[in-house]
């Protein structure tokens, strides 16, 4: 029951309607039931994995209530390592066993979204260990926190404190908030179904055998993939947040017009998959760096975080390969370079200020960051390191002849259509970058707002591709 299916279109209104008709004491149970139905629709065995993680969390939670530091430490490490071991077993055992003689295959596959609720569970155990008061929730709330269906497949990776605050919030849900939820769903669907899923076939065809593709197509496919993965994942998140909002539960933002970042650091910490970046920061980076924050430990910590992130991404629908590790390490190198250049960049920004040169510098920074990230996406998307090297070297070799190639290449209607979709996205996101745009739009008369929403609906109907069976990140 993906967000883009007819089943979900029927499931969601029914779940929302029953939720608001039920008395408050039954609503939590209803949301847990709805979440189990949703997650079970991807395979009943998924519920077993979810139940195992829930059980680990509940047992660890009981022990963490104890006063004895030894027992609490045992619960912290026991719970965390059990979840990580299960994740490792599901994600990596069979692919690793395939390469080692004598190791039998177990036929295990990671259930949809497993990594996301596994990370959520680890966050809960660690938070409870660090500060039991801040992570207070009853068992039913914890179950919902782990199983909440809008976020179970691909996040955001929420923290227990803000989540329970949402559950306990008694402020009446107004129509503007409800409508904002619907609008988020609609915009998320446009990003996923109209943009990402239309870009995907071209990228898949071109990246299938990069040696056979012409350089212009490799360039186009690399740009298209950058927008495909952005629209796929941020579209999913928008739908998840909008869906949750219909029940009065707000989820964190996770994506903020990612390709408008001025630095790689900003891209990873404030604009792309923010809840994962926060998770790595709080549970890996800070413990590694330690309270003294020595420079060498910060640099090493960054690289470890990105290497782990790369390993974690392995198996994301594009195979298990070193490409993901290369992608992670490359981003780590970017951040090293950026940190080293930070004083220089700050001085330059100060000198240029708000002048037109300053604006130009801002645009150049955005374009540079985008292209750095784009190069790293090649490692992420290509079948293996060899393919990534082929793609980058063929693009690199073609650059001197690019003007000639561009005039000779027979561009197709499909390519023009895809470029138009990306241009439309960028125009809308550029407008949304202005802090007042959203408020001004919300306050505009219906005569202005309705055509926009009708245009989104008809974009879905006329241009959407509804045959996709996955969101890229739910394969974690």
């Amino acid at each position: 029951m993906l967000f883009t299916t007819l089943d979900f279109l029927l499931f969601l209104p029914a779940a929302v309607l029953v939720f608001w008709l039920l008395p408050a004491r039954l609503r939590l149970a209803w949301l847990v039931l709805a979440s189990l139905v949703f997650y079970g629709s991807f395979g009943l065995e998924n519920l077993i994995y979810l139940a195992v993680v829930v059980l680990i969390v509940l047992v660890a939670g009981r022990v963490l209530k104890a006063k004895a530091p030894g027992a609490r430490r045992a619960a912290l490490w026991g719970g965390t390592l059990l979840i990580l071991a299960l994740m490792g077993l599901l994600k990596y055992y069979d692919p690793v066993a395939a390469g080692i003689d004598g190791l039998p295959a177990l036929g295990l596959t990671s259930p949809a979204g497993f990594s996301f609720y596994a990370f959520t569970a680890i966050a809960l155990i660690v938070d409870r260990y660090r500060d039991p008061a801040a992570a207070r929730a009853d068992d039913a709330q914890e179950v919902l926190y782990l199983a909440w269906f809008p976020k179970i497949l691909a996040g955001p990776i929420e923290r227990i404190g803000p989540f329970v605050s949402e559950l306990n919030d008694k402020t009446p849900l107004g129509w503007p908030q409800f409508a904002a939820g619907l609008q988020l769903i609609l915009w998320g669907l446009v990003k996923k179904v109209v943009i990402a899923d239309n870009l995907a076939p071209f990228v898949d065809r071109t990246y299938a055998i990069p040696a056979y593709a012409v350089p212009i197509e490799l360039i186009l496919a690399s740009y298209f993939f950058a927008f495909q993965i952005y629209c796929d994942f941020s579209g999913y998140t928008d739908i998840a947040r909008g869906t949750s909002q219909l029940f009065g539960i707000r989820l964190s933002e996770n994506f903020r017009r990612s390709y408008f970042a001025h630095s790689v650091g900003e891209f990873w910490s404030r604009r792309w998959h923010v809840s994962l970046a926060d998770w790595f920061r709080d549970y890996v980076y800070f413990p590694l760096v330690g309270p003294e924050r020595k420079a060498w430990r910060m640099y090493a910590g960054l690289m470890v975080v990105f290497a782990l992130s790369g390993i974690w991404h392995a198996g994301l629908g594009y195979g298990i390969g070193w490409g993901f590790v290369a992608w992670g390490l490359l981003n780590g190198v970017y951040l090293w370079g950026e940190r080293a250049l930070n004083p220089l960049r700050r001085r330059l920004r100060k000198r240029l200020g708000g002048s037109w040169l300053g604006r130009l510098h801002e645009i150049a920074a955005i374009l540079t960051v985008f292209h750095l990230v784009l190069v790293s996406w090649v490692f992420f998307r290509a079948g293996d390191l060899g393919d990534a090297a082929t793609i980058l070297s063929r693009i690199w070799q073609s650059l001197p002849e690019l003007p000639t190639l561009l005039t000779r290449y027979p561009f197709t209607g499909e390519q023009a259509f895809l470029v138009c979709l990306i241009a439309a996205l960028l125009v809308i996101e550029a407008a949304m970058e202005r802090p007042t745009t959203a408020d001004r739009f919300a306050a505009a008369p219906a005569l202005l707002r309705w055509p926009v929403w009708l245009a989104c609906l008809f974009a879905l109907i006329l241009l959407g591709r509804w045959d996709s069976e996955v969101f890229v990140y739910m394969q974690f």
Binding site: R27, N168, K170, L173, G174, L454, L457, F458, I461
Partner: protein, 320 residues
């Protein structure tokens, strides 16, 4: 703790109804425009039926793509010139017996046919891909005109499990005409365009084609379910007074030999047809020369002419 105790949101129902009403009006207008442009999606059996509504025809041809070269090669025209009998091609690419049944039901409402020529292919009995999924195929729904009679047939078939509810919803709302699934086609079969070519035999191409036609393989895919559907379809046709002839059209030797489970299928088909008294003409080995085909398994112009002269012409002239 008192979780989730917010009061329900007060919704502005009038505004919501106005927005939905406006959306519905625009959708209906767009769907009507799409229906007017349905012919641009390419011809198909259902459009042929709409165009020929009320006509009396002697033969209707049902089956999958192997039957289509008969139309490309002018068999209907030649039959009419030689015998005065008319023929309408209602076969469709990748159409198994369930899709043929859908076409026949509509044909019985629109035309007054006397004979059915059913072109049997074993692959069409081996997978839902060529049956339930073909009826739900958006590329076919896109070129299926919106008619209340077809809606009735589809609804009836949905009730018996032959049509997915999503496909019925697609047809009702004209969705595939508004949202063409083949906006940028890549590898569509273009039989008519290649009809005058000759094929150079290739073991790889034959293997790939067999793999495509039998996605489940032959061992796992029991044809009994679709043979039941065929039997029921023929029984209905006979009850309407139509005569039925079943043929297996020629394929190159290499292709025929590579077909999985063909002998078992032939025996099962013959066993189903014999009690109904329906003749089965197995011509699959009649034209072995690969130069008579434009691809791995479809007759080209020379192949159709030879087939008509040597085998099919006499069968049709004799009324089956």
């Amino acid at each position: 703790m008192h979780s989730l105790s917010r009061p329900p949101p007060a919704l502005p129902w009038t505004r919501i109804a106005a927005f939905l009403g406006l959306f519905a009006a625009l959708y209906i207008a767009a769907a009507a425009i799409a229906e007017l442009r349905v012919g641009r999606a390419g011809q198909g059996a259902m459009q042929e039926l709409l165009a020929a509504k009320g006509r009396q025809v002697d033969w209707i041809v049902l089956g999958a793509s192997h039957a289509l070269p008969l139309a490309y090669g002018g068999v209907p025209e030649r039959l009419e010139a030689e015998t005065g009998q008319t023929m309408m091609m209602l076969a469709e690419v990748g159409a198994g017996p369930l899709y043929a049944d859908f076409v026949l039901r509509q044909a019985l409402l629109d035309l007054e046919p006397m004979h059915i020529l059913y072109v049997a292919d074993s692959f069409a009995f081996r997978s839902p891909r060529w049956n339930e999924e073909r009826i739900a195929d958006r590329k076919l729904l896109r070129k299926t005109p919106w008619r209340s009679s077809m809606l009735g047939i589809l609804a009836g078939m949905a009730g018996s499990g032959g049509v997915a509810p999503g496909a019925l919803a697609d047809y009702v709302t004209n969705f595939s005409k508004l949202n063409p699934p083949d906006r940028f086609p890549q590898d569509d079969w273009r039989g008519a365009e290649n009809f005058d070519r000759s094929f150079r035999p290739s073991r790889h191409a034959t293997g790939a084609r067999i793999g495509y036609l039998y996605p489940e393989g032959a061992a796992k895919a029991d044809p009994a379910r679709y043979l039941d559907a065929l039997e029921a379809m023929f029984a209905r046709a006979r009850a309407e007074g139509l005569s039925v002839t079943v043929v297996k059209l020629p394929v190159p030797d290499a292709f025929r030999e590579a077909l999985p489970g063909e002998a078992e299928f032939d025996a099962a088909l013959a066993a189903r047809l014999a009690p109904l008294g329906i003749p089965l003409h197995d011509l699959s080995a009649a034209l072995a020369d690969p130069r008579l085909y434009f691809d791995t398994d479809h007759l080209n112009r020379d192949g159709v002419e030879l087939l008509y002269e040597r085998h099919l012409g006499p069968i049709l002239a004799a009324g089956g």
